[in-house]
């Protein structure tokens, strides 16, 4: 089909932040995750674990605990001392209330989701009632010495167990009194006595309190008598996190050595009523502290300081062994962090609080497949743009010509005009940007760099006109006719400047006619999250990738799915394609070859040739290496539409610069590991 000159970029020094806490929402089948930089993400397990919401972090807003309460409302609390509610439609903090107890270390919601208990630095446990417009302080429970590091409600909502330094407390909710104090290191020899930190706690309906502590123990207590029922030492290092399954027959714990263990309540003998907690499965998916664990009905979920989210399905809960039972690991966001100025051959990298603009190198040689060409001009780091203030960047983009850079934080929108004069570069901030409803969730320049589309909340898209030599003007705001509360998170504009497609959080895709500033049509709703969108430069067909790995092609002028798309739906995609576990995050086209669609996810790059037949399940999807061994004549029969290359991994971004020149931005996991602090030294056998 063709040879590409691939610019293999590994200098995007992006380091994802570690996972701080997790909260699993059983009914919605969603997982909320908070990172150490304060960012909050929501993964939709039903939509193939797609990261459907991402609220960027904030320097002053650490999140120590997350809770789902009152239905689908998400609350967070952190060392800032506030209890905040997140607006999952507009992806920002809706409102927050002061906890009045100093930094908040822990938070737990009662079973009904009507009350939140927070554990504070000053040793107090405070109860908040969840009201329609946020939370309302209700009362304080009896104050204790030492910070409250963890909390757990008894399922009957009558008692709260709290963990502190060396101690466990049990509070009676109605009276607010401490009804039990348990010294957790009573059994430790006096000589070895150090402070024992109770990192995590669980309160079972049987009255058993489970604690995990810095001595590497998982202990089971009878709260009424204050006696130790069972003690399991799982690690030499601390056990940092603990989660109990809804049925209370399984517990997952995470240690600072990167290991997670499952405990199961099993009968001592076959058929016996007498049950014990038994440590059953050890897993070592992380290299660093496992700060957070969660237990869904079918899987153990763990998040570590190594920034990985690991979902380990439990085989015994699975109907059949297969794709559903596969281990999932997520390290990178399901969003685009890189934008590319194709014509100027520039790359814009988005970090949490700054942007980097790089110019790609070049070569003047050609070669055969697999060859590394000599670089005659090395890549150049042109600009570093630091975002002022504590807010992290939501989105950014560079225009195709490379002369405009835009980014947005939660409260500010910035536009820069970049000028290149020979080797020198000057950058000028555009001062009087129009006042928009912020934040912007996605930014996209038109192909001719004359206008900028700003994705905003309530399904609206603002269209700004970029003016030479450095200015801009608000042209129009596009709104869906039906109205929605969800923000737009994906944009695609056509090359001829006629069309714009916008996908919002309710998975609706609206198409606007830009010539007449008018809503054109809505793509038929599909029951899955949209992960990438793009409009073909020649045919004006909209190509849509969904998180269940389905691909659709929608003819914009005709307002209907194309014939090819119908064929795809009739034949079905290849099984191996559907079972990939990372979403397509970017779609591009080759204007010289209209039948080609370029797609990529974290583990592969694919050129989809619509002119070729689709592979059936008996054929191999990844057939490039086989094809390479075949003689030219024999290849014909083996060809199919999916041309997949897995050489570049993990792939954060891939785009077509010109007809046969690609750019691939990789971020090797090893490079991230070296940026992390060293993990706890572990003795290996024989050393």
């Amino acid at each position: 089909m063709g040879e590409f000159e691939v610019h293999r970029v590994r200098f995007f020094s992006y380091v994802p932040a570690g996972v701080r806490c997790l909260a699993y929402h059983r009914r919605a089948d969603r997982l909320a995750l908070a990172r150490t930089d304060g960012a909050v993400e929501v993964y939709n397990f039903a939509a193939n674990y797609f990261q459907e919401k991402a609220i960027p972090g904030h320097e002053a807003r650490s999140v120590e605990a997350l809770c789902w309460a009152a239905g689908d409302r998400l609350f967070g609390a952190g060392l800032g001392g506030h209890v905040s509610e997140y607006d999952l439609e507009r992806l920002r903090v809706k409102r927050s209330a002061d906890g009045f107890g100093g930094p908040i270390w822990s938070m737990a919601a009662n079973a009904g989701g009507t009350q939140l208990a927070i554990g504070c630095e000053d040793g107090s446990v405070k109860l908040f009632r969840v009201v329609p417009d946020g939370v309302q302080f209700e009362r304080s429970l009896e104050r204790q010495q030492g910070r409250i590091l963890c909390l757990s409600w008894h399922p009957s909502e009558t008692h709260i167990a709290a963990g502190s330094l060396d101690l466990l407390h049990v509070f009676d909710v109605s009276s607010g009194r401490t009804v039990q104090r348990i010294m957790v290191n009573y059994h430790v020899q006096k000589l070895k006595k150090r402070e024992c930190v109770v990192w995590s706690i669980g309160f079972l309906s049987s009255g058993t309190v489970v604690s995990s502590d810095s001595f590497g123990r998982v202990q089971f207590w009878d709260w009424e008598r204050g006696t130790l029922l069972e003690s399991h030492t799982v690690s030499n290092s601390a056990v940092l996190s603990l989660a109990v399954s809804e049925k209370e027959d399984s517990i997952v714990v995470g240690t600072s050595a990167g290991a997670t263990y499952q405990f199961q309540l099993l009968p001592v003998k076959m058929g016996s009523q007498d049950k014990h907690w038994v440590r059953t499965k050890p897993f070592q998916h992380h290299t660093h502290d496992v700060r957070a664990v969660a237990h869904s009905p079918t899987a153990l979920i763990s998040g570590g300081l190594d920034a990985q989210l690991v979902i380990r399905p439990l085989m015994e809960k699975m109907q059949k062994k297969g794709y559903e039972a596969a281990l999932r690991k997520f390290t990178f966001p399901h969003r685009r962090l890189v934008s590319c100025a194709r014509k100027a051959r520039l790359l814009l990298f988005q970090f949490s609080q700054h942007l980097e603009l790089w110019r790609l190198g070049s070569t003047n040689e050609t070669g055969k497949d697999g060859e590394v060409l000599p670089v005659c001009r090395v890549p150049e780091h042109l600009v570093q743009l630091k975002s002022k203030g504590p807010e992290h960047i939501y989105c950014s983009c560079v225009s195709p010509c490379g002369s405009w850079i835009a980014y947005s934080t939660a409260s500010r929108f910035h536009l820069y005009r970049v000028q290149y004069e020979g080797d020198s570069i000057s950058i000028k901030k555009v001062t009087n940007v129009p006042k928009l409803l912020l934040p912007a969730y996605q930014l996209q320049c038109s192909a001719d760099s004359s206008s900028l589309f700003v994705a905003s909340d309530r399904g609206s898209v603002h269209m700004l006109q970029l003016l030479e030599p450095g200015g801009c003007k608000h042209l129009h705001t596009l709104r869906p006719p039906s109205g929605t509360l969800e923000a737009v998170y994906l944009l695609a504009s056509s090359a001829d400047g006629n069309w714009l497609a916008a996908a919002s959080g309710d998975w609706e895709i609206h198409i606007y006619n830009l010539k007449r500033f008018k809503h054109h049509c809505t793509v038929p709703t599909y029951s899955c999250a949209v992960t990438a969108l793009a409009i073909h430069p020649v045919t004006n067909n909209l190509v849509i990738a969904y998180s269940d790995q389905q691909l659709f092609e929608f003819g914009i002028p005709e307002k209907q799915y194309t014939a090819w798309s119908r064929t795809v739906q009739n034949c079905g995609l290849h099984k191996a394609w559907l079972e990939r576990d990372s979403p397509i995050t970017h779609i591009a086209f080759n204007p010289k070859k209209p039948s080609h669609i370029l797609l990529h996810d974290v583990y592969m790059f694919c050129v989809l040739d619509k002119s070729l037949p689709l592979p059936d399940d008996s054929a191999s999807l990844m057939n490039q290496s086989t094809l390479k061994q075949l003689p030219e004549t024999a290849r014909k029969r083996q060809l199919h539409a999916f041309k997949i290359c897995k050489k570049f991994q993990p792939l954060l971004f891939a785009d077509l610069l010109d007809e046969n020149c690609l750019v691939m931005v990789e971020r090797p996991l090893m490079d991230i590991k070296t940026q992390l602090p060293p993990p706890i030294q572990q003795k290996k056998f024989g050393t």
């Binding site: 293999r8 070569t363 060859e371 890549p379 090893m670």
Partner: protein, 724 residues
């Protein structure tokens, strides 16, 4: 593991198709003048020289019509001449350039030639059908000379020439009335030995092959029952009996999933592998011929190749290539054969050089044998044991018990009272015998018997034999517990040295006694003894007597001259040791013996109480030697001493600590130890400082390495990607 590559055809053999010969088959294939050349003699009139890699003939010679080549053409590697015999008696010699065999050198001999053997360095040997052997040059001096006839009506079945060092040896097998005889002809001594091959019921040897190693000829025989037997023939033969019977041991049973491979010919590939060409008849199926490679160590079939077109049953192997006829062509197959071990097969191959572990002993048999030894005074019991042993051997090798072969029981009885010369003779014979399954236990019994005899009879001490036994076989202390005690009694330091090096399980008490004995024996006495100096020769300066240089040498920046002045009056004899750690405080023999002690295994808890009994002077001397070793080994960056079996730094340090622990108070009190201790202390302190500095550097170096590695992983490259 062994593997057979895809074969190729060297030439056709049929009368048609451009092949050689008249379809009568191949007489023999011999190596040609070059490693890639082979000489093919067919059963007619023609000999052809092939270049194997090119698959083409280089030359072809034929005798006249009516004549027939009777002996395979060989190449004289020295002169690059070809030698052939036609019509049994007519010898022909020619070179590459010669075309017509009628016109080349011709000699008519007085007797029929069986075969000519050509060896890489030396004259070709001519074996006559009567058993006479001549070298070619002797024969050519007088072609009509009388050739003696040793074997009146025996027929030569097979012959082979071997080289032991530079000495050619010819071995051939004959047959008469179902009995097989082996003749070994040594040229230097012009001796011909005749042996009778142990008989095998219902089975005859079909093919032989032989190799020589360590003065012992190993003869392998392929029998018609599908077994390969091994016969050991020692080159040195003491008793001049008329006809010695060679016992054989089963090497390999050619069993492929229950069915026997009926071998027709075989070759030895290396010490563990043989290749067998034969036919396999699986139950209810037609027999099919195949070429197989077997591992004799593990008794496994390594690889095989079916030959559906049939073979002539002949197999040759030169230069990692098999040659055989397959159908109507001569096929060549290249094989690969690597030495293998079971451990390698399961992925746990240890460096064979360092693995010194004894193989397992069958304790059940051992107890049996010991019982025999203890009760051997009663003749009847001994006889019983003898029958038991023969039974075992019959069970193991399916051999017919030969009343006249020497059994262990007999040997044990002999040890009790025979003369030492006679015993030694028998022992040699025992050693030359094939490896018995419970050989180790047997040897244990033999040694125990010998030691018992030594205890009773002060004159009797078969030292050489004991040294040989321990040196060769993997024995252990527990197998012959009294041996070291006897050696200690006899002050046989060489034997003790070997025992310390070989035995893995010496009790600490014995180790200590050895140490004490070694330290107490004077160097003068040791100089006259035979001690293996391998472990010291590389680092002890034997000529360390010149004392002039020593005052100049400063050790690691400090000079311990001053402290040393008053402290070594006790060692008047070793005054040259003033600078500890500079000259060896003991002679090389003693050093080698002490190294053997350092090398032996011990447990601290059990050794320490004994060490406390060591006289103070000896303890100081030993510590002095350890100090010397410590300084020596610290000289090199690897902190190892050169040489084989030399002590490691850990062993030295452990023993140093042990000696200091055991004699701490004594050392503190003893005036002559003061200097030594202070110099030791200074050296250790200097080392500790040095290493702590190194530790600091390590961190920086690691960082540098890390930086370098980062640079290596490119952050940007432009590559070409082809998608089809």
């Amino acid at each position: 593991m062994a593997a057979l590559c895809e074969g190729f055809t060297l030439c056709g053999l049929g009368p048609s198709g451009g092949g050689v010969g008249l379809g009568a088959g191949v007489l023999a294939l011999e190596p040609g003048p070059d490693s890639d050349h082979v000489l093919l003699t067919d059963r007619g009139r023609t000999a052809t020289l092939f270049k194997v890699s090119d698959q083409k003939p280089l030359g072809c010679w034929s005798v006249k019509h009516g004549q027939i080549i009777t002996c395979p053409v060989v190449c004289n590697f020295e002169t690059h001449e070809y030698i052939a015999v036609h019509d049994d008696k007519v010898l022909r010699i020619w070179k590459d350039e010669d075309v017509n065999l009628d016109k080349v050198f011709k000699a008519t001999l007085s007797a029929d030639v069986y075969r000519i053997h050509s060896l890489p360095h030396g004259e070709p040997l001519v074996l006559f059908k009567g058993g006479g052997v001549r070298t070619l040059d002797v024969l050519l001096e007088a072609p009509q000379q009388e050739i003696e006839n040793f074997i009146s009506d025996e027929v030569i079945k097979w012959s082979e020439a071997l080289l032991e060092g530079q000495e050619p040896i010819l071995i051939f097998a004959t047959e008469k009335d179902g009995n097989f005889f082996i003749y070994v002809q040594k040229f230097k001594l012009n001796m011909l030995h005749k042996y009778k091959l142990e008989q095998q019921e219902l089975s005859n040897p079909l093919s032989f092959t032989a190799y020589i190693k360590n003065q012992i000829i190993t003869l392998l025989c392929l029998y018609s029952n599908g077994s390969v037997y091994k016969v050991l023939i020692p080159l040195q033969r003491h008793s001049e009996e008329e006809e010695q019977i060679l016992s054989k041991s089963l090497l390999l049973k050619l069993l492929v999933s229950g069915s026997v491979l009926k071998g027709t010919s075989f070759v030895v590939l290396d010490k563990d592998h043989v290749a067998v060409l034969g036919s396999l008849t699986a139950f209810g199926e037609e027999s099919k011929e195949c070429l197989t490679i077997w591992n004799t160590k593990f008794q496994t079939l390594q690889t095989s190749k079916e030959l559906p077109l049939g073979t002539s049953g002949q197999l040759w192997c030169y230069g990692e290539k098999f040659f055989f006829t397959h159908g109507k062509v001569l096929t060549v197959i290249i094989y690969k054969c690597e030495t293998s071990s079971l451990a390698a097969a399961v992925g746990k191959l240890k460096d064979s050089q360092t693995s010194d572990v004894s193989s397992f002993i069958n304790w059940n048999t051992l107890s049996d044998e010991e019982l025999v030894v203890s009760l051997q005074s009663q003749q009847s019991v001994a006889l019983k044991s003898e029958s038991k042993m023969t039974l075992r051997s019959r069970r193991n090798s399916v051999a017919k018990a030969q009343p006249d072969t020497l059994t262990v029981g007999q040997l044990l009885l002999d040890i009790k009272d025979s003369s030492s010369a006679a015993i030694e003779d028998e022992l040699k014979q025992l050693l030359s015998k094939a490896q018995m399954p419970d050989f180790q236990a047997t040897i244990g019994c033999v040694i125990t018997a010998l030691v018992n005899r030594c205890k009773r009879d002060p004159v009797f001490y078969p030292r050489n034999f004991l040294v040989q036994l321990i040196g060769k076989r993997e024995l252990s202390y527990s197998l012959c517990p009294d041996l070291m005690a006897v050696a200690l009694e006899k002050k046989d330091v060489h034997l003790l040295q070997i025992c310390l090096q070989r035995f893995p399980d010496i009790p600490e008490e014995i180790t200590y006694t050895c140490l004490k004995v070694f330290l107490s024996i004077s160097d003068d006495y040791l100089e006259r003894t035979d001690v293996n100096l391998d472990s010291v020769i590389c680092y002890i300066d034997i000529e360390s007597n010149n004392k002039e240089v020593k005052t100049e040498i400063v050790e690691n920046g400090f000079n311990n001259e001053l402290e040393e002045d008053h402290c070594d009056t006790a060692f008047a004899k070793e005054t040259h040791l003033k600078n500890d750690g500079e000259f060896c405080p003991v002679g090389p023999q003693k050093a080698a013996l002490l190294n053997a002690v350092l090398h032996s295994a011990y447990s601290e808890t059990f050794l320490l109480p004994h060490l406390k009994d060591l006289p103070a002077q000896q303890a100081v001397l030993f510590l002095r030697y350890l100090h010397y070793l410590y300084v020596k080994s610290s000289e090199k960056i690897t902190t190892t001493l050169p040489g084989v079996l030399s002590p490691t730094i850990n062993q030295i340090m452990d023993w140093m600590c042990l000696i200091l622990d055991a004699h701490f108070t004594v050392m503190v009190m003893l005036p002559e130890a003061k200097g030594l201790l202070s110099s030791l202390h200074k050296f250790v302190r200097a080392q500790v400082r040095f290493y702590s500095e190194l530790n600091k550097i390590e961190g920086s170096l690691q960082e540098l390495q890390r930086l370098k590695r980062q640079k290596e992983t490119q952050t940007y490259s432009i590559e070409v990607l082809e998608l089809i």
